[in-house]
Symmetry: C2
Subunit: 338 residues, 2 copies
């Protein structure tokens, strides 16, 4: 299925349930430069044959300026120009880097994504947030710019490690919590193994989630309101992720658990047990002990902070997230008491 979504400046064309081979129909091969990582490149060597490919080292630790410098040098050597189309084939690190580099190279060239992880398919590839980490601050530098296209090819999921599947389902559960109570129920009735076995069920779930995120972003591209809902679990999550050896989804799952508890205190939320049970059903961590002061210090540099307040995403009920400004002092107390 194809679908074109109009954002403020450009349209993003979605190729759902498609094949990577289509990219050479989207743009002429000679203008394409593919950016991917060693994992994807080694696991799927045939698909990259005959294409210009830049292969990066895998991992969040390479989502930094040094990698941007390196790719830009390579683009210069390739004589890439304003007709060049960058295509990021990989998880969120690759799509974030590709979108960022394409947005600043020659003041912006065309780019598209082929997300290869659940997390990237349902979340990271969508919404036009591109960027890099600086020191311990995730995505501190970046830009909002929509890709020209996003192409889904679930064949890439064959090489996805089990813990990356779990990682991706954290965002799916997050979408259910903030926007889709019906999907929350569906997830309660299914299992990760079930989705992994049934390609059709999986494709449909991916598409449903991609569209949840797309609609939220479309209504609020530059994050003045509703888009902030997508940050459920991410405020504490990001701070945890930098301090401890956690995957993004694990950090978000723990962050979501604590956001539920804060929601109990501040919004009268009463379904924490259901959320925790669903996260655990999908093999995600929920409660964890952490150095609260360290995590709070990390929070202080979160982009969602505005001087003395922070916009925190809480739940009124499953399927209804709400953005709530919390004063930093109050937040520090709440976190220390958790």
């Amino acid at each position: 299925m194809e679908k074109s979504i109009k954002f403020s400046n450009v349209s993003t064309h979605f190729y759902f349930d498609s094949s990577f081979k289509q990219v050479t129909k989207i743009a002429d091969k000679k203008f394409l430069v593919v950016i991917t990582d060693e994992h994807i490149f080694k696991a799927h060597p045939a698909v990259f044959k005959g294409l210009n490919v830049i292969v990066l080292k895998p991992g969040e630790e390479y989502k930094v300026q040094a990698t941007v410098d390196e790719v830009i040098d390579t683009l210069i050597k390739m004589e890439a120009d304003r007709k060049t189309v960058l295509v990021g084939v990989g998880g969120g690190v690759i799509t974030d880097l590709t979108g960022y580099i394409a947005s600043i190279y020659m003041r912006g060239i065309r780019f598209g994504f082929v997300p290869t992880s659940i997390l990237a398919l349902v979340d990271a590839s969508i919404g036009g947030k591109n960027g890099i980490d600086v020191d311990r601050y995730k995505n501190l530098v970046g830009i909002i710019r929509q890709p020209s296209f996003i192409l889904h090819d679930v064949a890439f999921l064959q090489s996805l490690p089990q813990n990356e599947w779990e990682n991706g389902f954290a965002e799916i559960i997050k979408h259910a919590c903030i926007k889709d109570a019906a999907m929350f129920k569906q997830l309660q009735q299914e299992s990760l193994a079930g989705y992994q076995k049934d390609k059709k069920k999986l494709s449909s779930l991916i598409q449903r989630n991609a569209l949840i995120k797309t609609k939220v972003v479309q209504k609020d591209e530059f994050e003045k309101g509703d888009r902030r809902l997508l940050n459920l679990g991410h405020t504490i999550g990001h701070a945890l992720e930098k301090e401890y050896e956690l995957m993004h989804g694990q950090a978000v799952a723990i962050g979501t658990t604590y956001a539920c508890h804060i929601s109990e205190q501040l919004r009268g939320f009463s379904q924490t047990a259901d959320v925790v049970a669903l996260l655990e059903q999908y093999q995600l961590p929920t409660y964890a002990s952490f150095d609260k002061q360290k995590v709070f210090n990390g929070l202080k540099m979160d982009k969602k902070r505005e001087q003395k307040e922070m916009n925190f995403v809480l739940l009124d009920k499953i399927g209804k997230g709400v953005v709530t400004p919390i004063r930093m002092q109050q937040l520090e107390k709440i976190i220390n008491k958790l």
Copy 2:
């Protein structure tokens, strides 16, 4: 005089013939972070009192990623967040850096410019092109984003060296060539010394030029058509600037001279002598011997190149510029014959 100009996403508010003191009325002092260079900071110490200031080393050689990294580190230490407003006080290097950093820090914070050179007042501060140089490629990395405000305070011109005045007039003459035959005549009747002595005449000339550039940009913010006219003299100019020790205006003046000769060959232009005479009247260089092959190789990485062609700005007559695609092979021949 104040004037608000609407671009595609934001409006830029112009404060013509104003005073730097106004900035604290535009944004609260506690949210302001001023970026300037050592020259400006030392020449006008009083104006920066009580403000958060980041002082950079002066010169185009610092318009690079290392400086961006350094400023971002400082912003992190200052706990700058999304309410912070960056104000670039300086010439084109400072405004380019400030706009670029503000566009990528936390995915974009507000920024404004207080241009302190003729070049920055009439050209560099306007149009939202922000960026840095990479190796020998000028502005290879950057972004188009409009400032929230531009404030003119001609008091800063008191510390402007004589050669920087000449530098700025190269862009003023360029504007006359592509868009304003009447101003070309006015410039023929005046002199640099005359403008330097008469603050009112100067302010009026600056405002006229700022508005010429603004109108061209407004019609074509993302440079698909008319905006390219502003590149008169800049294609060869940029290549010369990187190879030789030239100021931007000098390089543009030489580039304009050669663009006139190419215009004779390809468009039947007949006023080269008038343009050359006016450039010389304002102490600008016109003819220069240079390594043609080196300059042509530099051209090949110009952002205006599109694979086998380059969009070159030529003149049909004074006051009427025209964008002309020239095949790279043909261009190489023409340049070698100049």
